[in-house]
Subunit: 227 residues, 2 copies
Amino acid sequence: MGVMPVSDLSSAAQDYLKLIWSATEWSPAPITVSVMAERLGVRPSTVSDGIKRLAGQGLVTHAPYGSIELTDAGRAHAVAMVRRHRLLETFLVDVLGYSWDEVHDEAEVLEHAVSDTLIERMDRKLGHPTRDPHGDPIPGADGRPSLPEGTRLTATAAGDTVAITRISDADPQMLRYFTELGLAPDTRLTVREHRPYADVTTVRVHEPERDIDLGASASDAIWVVAV
Amino acid sequence: MGVMPVSDLSSAAQDYLKLIWSATEWSPAPITVSVMAERLGVRPSTVSDGIKRLAGQGLVTHAPYGSIELTDAGRAHAVAMVRRHRLLETFLVDVLGYSWDEVHDEAEVLEHAVSDTLIERMDRKLGHPTRDPHGDPIPGADGRPSLPEGTRLTATAAGDTVAITRISDADPQMLRYFTELGLAPDTRLTVREHRPYADVTTVRVHEPERDIDLGASASDAIWVVAV
DNA sequence: CAAATTTGTTCGGTGAGCCTAACAATCGGC
DNA sequence: GCCGATTGTTAGGCTCACCGAACAAATTTG
């Protein structure tokens, strides 16, 4: 009935909340049941179920066939999970020598197991970092939402000179590809052209100076900010 | 039906196996259902249930009302969990500045979440340690059982000079008490006397030279080896 | 705007892991 | 060696998280 204390939420519930929150971090459209099911690797009926449970716990609001929205309590939880995830990724890379394409899955599991104490000790050891290895902002311990900035590379104009703000950590294989190309957060580049029907964006990178062609999925994974 | 692959055992199953194994590490008597229930904080019926499931998976042998024994597969799992637990404790102390009384509970949860890769990276970073912060031996990656040595402090004779091999990590409060007293793995001491009906053992420790009285629970938690 | 398709929900079922209560087997004391 | 206490097991229930199948709502399309 009442609102549950923060600590004991099931692993699945935490995943649901984080996913709902993440969906709205970089684009405003609310998430749907089928998209959630696909991302979580479960059936829509399972998600529908789960959403109902979360609504019962006061973590989301949802009328049947209506949109899914986090309550303040739900959002607080979600942001805490994102903080955990991103601090873990940073820790694995900085302290244990993981490469940035390896950390996502490991953090996905660990984020449900680490205590608040451990998170804060990692944070201190890392010197309170503000961005994770993919460039995503790390929310503060106070649960500050940490609004990210940047636009998709696909939304830039030819001739713009920009710096990479973040690269989506969704696909490890793509991250390895970016590593080969020398693309990472903080890399600067100049947009040469968008070829619309080929869905190719050409960018120029320095040191060494070179042109790189990026397909639609690649340039959708890269977020940039003007410099 | 058949023997399950190592990776996907439930958290509860892993706890059961580890506990069965741990019970025989320092004393030969086989563990009972009620002791397991008490240690795991669940009801005996739950354990009875669980044991039946483990038997069905070929991880333990158990006839109703009979003794509980690990199969080779079960033991391999158990030892792997113990390795995880002890490496995690060592990592938390050495890398993240935990004190030895804080690490047990954290490791208890994390051991179910860390990947084999993460364990091996921690092991490498730590320089392949052989004992955890409490003095317990860390099994190798090959699953070598790592037979510990030592006897309970209560089993020594007055006049013996010994070194502490391990201190049971079961009770954090007791560990804090030992820290205050300056007792830790590798501390040397001389047994002064056992006062049988008072259940007190007096030991002499050097630097600073002093006598310490230990009650039954304390001296049962300390394992020593002759020097 | 009605039919067809897509999307979301409900329903019944499964297994793990827990519970309590009732019952069965074993063990210890005399 | 019997009886009572202790210990272990079975039975029946519960929740969570999943599934597939059937159904209902909403959206797209001709």
